[in-house]
Amino acid sequence: MTQTTGNAAESLIVQDLTKDFAGLRAVDGVSFTVNPGEILGLIGPNGSGKTTTINVVTGLLNITSGSVRLGSLDMTGWQPHRIARAGLARTFQIVRLFKDFTVRENVEVAAVASGNARGKVVADRADRALRQLGIFHLANTPARVLPQGEERLVEIARAIATEPRFLLLDEPGAGLNDAEIESFLPTLRRLRTDLGCGILIVDHDMRLIMNLCDRIHVLNYGKTIAEGTPGEVRREPAVIEAYLGAEEAA
């Protein structure tokens, strides 16, 4: 297992993260670092603990042991809203928009919560997030009528409206067709350069992961089995056996 340490003052550092569910160890001593401006892929077979890891990191689940830090700031055990305000934003596997809201309102809630809430600042921030994802024209559309691809974009716009330092994307490619994923790639890359934030991305779509990520962290049964560049991970025997094997061979 390799452990990359970047600029520790700015990085999202997860150390020895362990999560038990009533006797079942879902995540077992996982450590990784996401550096600013870096895209780290978190992959693994179903049930390997990827989403659980994101849920613990964002405070949705209590941590059993280990720590989550942002630079020197120890966020272990914090409430979700504090973690969000400290600069971690996330999206969900199944898109969770505020269905009764317009696209703009969805993004505004996030813009409100993260800063000192002034009407003008909120509106500006929401506008910027919508433009960054190229969905400004949808601003007044009710969220419930959006097709899945656009729902994804709104969810990401909502996440970046909090002006995050790190963006945690849980299967952003789920439910998207090939063409949509194709157009998704440059959007995600652009986010990194525009916002300068680090991205942790969980996905099953190998093309998305291999094309997008600087480094990849592989989990199996809640444990780290490999970490490295896409090229390195692809060659790792443990990974091929546990996960890639099936897909690559196909």
Binding site: P80, H81, F98, D100, V109, A113, S114
Partner: protein, 299 residues
């Protein structure tokens, strides 16, 4: 002419009572929407404001100041019950929260019983509560007109607050998906406290007119309003603000309608007839008249 004046009187009374019922229901729904808690101690907020009227009313203060102070008391108690009683059971099952609310309700009633009086007391009320006016030959109670106006103003103000303000935006978001709202950085406890404060404010306003109407305050004074609020919000749809308002007005029109037009000897069964109508409505629309836009899949 007689029938038209009867009808206008009926309309004014119904709109005034319906408006009050709508405010009562809103006080329940605004908290339920966010925390899934049906706060049966809501009635005791009305009681608190009622005793506020009684106690502050003994001073030399003008009645309007007394009324404002009483409403403030209801708000403070609402915030207090959230902090002391409901915050510790925030993540417990809805049943636990429901039972907690009954406990708070009983506790507050007993405090009033012990420290104030088990007997009804009459607070000082301004004379407008008993006066009527005659407008183009139609007699209406002034208090009905005021209640009607106040409830409409309060409903519109609440709507503007929820639609246009930043806090309102967070409240609506929290009612839609509470977890997600926290994940975008909204402080959950603050949002819930705000909902309780609004609930207290509504209870306070309701108390002025409810107690103004019955002219007395006693430890169990909150029971009937909370029951009405509950029925109105169930009829309208528990997770919808529009539903609460609609349910309130429907109940108001039903109550006054039955009271006005039922033959004298059947009038004793008024409530039974009204509840029968409510039951039929719920058989037809079990989720209330206004359904939530989307079912809450992930909770």
């Amino acid at each position: 002419m007689e029938s038209i004046s009867d009808f206008v009187q009926y309309l004014v009374s119904s709109l005034s009572v319906g408006g009050l019922y709508a405010l009562m229901a809103l006080g329940l729904v605004i908290v339920y929407g966010i925390s899934q808690l049906i706060n049966f101690a809501y009635g005791e907020l009305i009681m608190v404001a009622g005793y506020g009227l009684l106690i502050f009313g003994r001073s030399w203060l003008p009645w309007l100041i007394v009324a404002v102070m009483s409403i403030l008391c209801a708000i403070i108690f609402a915030l207090g019950m959230d902090q002391i009683a409901f915050k510790p059971v925030r993540n417990a099952s809805p049943t636990t929260m429901l039972i907690t609310s009954f406990a708070v309700s009983t506790l507050l009633q007993n405090i009033a019983l012990l420290f104030i009086s088990p007997r009804p007391r009459a607070p000082r009320l301004p004379s407008i509560f008993v006066k009527s006016v005659e407008v183009v030959g139609i007699r209406v109670k002034i208090v009905d007109v005021i209640a009607l106006a106040v409830s409409i103003v309060a409903l519109i103000a609440l709507q503007i607050f929820l639609r246009k303000s930043i806090v309102g935006l967070s409240l609506r978001a929290a009612a839609d998906d509470f977890t997600m709202t926290r994940l975008v950085g909204v402080n959950a406890n603050k949002v819930i406290a705000t909902a309780f404060a609004i609930s207290g404010l509504l209870a306070g306003i309701v108390a002025l007119f409810w107690i103004g109407r019955i002219g007395q305050v006693l430890p169990t004074v909150g029971f009937q309003p909370v029951l009405i609020a509950f029925i109105a919000s169930v009829v309208g749809g528990l997770s919808s603000i529009k539903g609460a308002v609609l349910g309130g007005y429907i109940l108001g029109f039903l109550t006054i309608g039955l009271q006005t037009w039922l033959p004298q000897d059947v009038n004793a069964y008024r409530d039974a007839i009204m509840f029968a109508i409510v039951i039929v409505m719920l058989l037809v629309r079990p989720e209330g008249l206004i359904r939530p836009a989307f079912s809450r899949e992930t909770r």
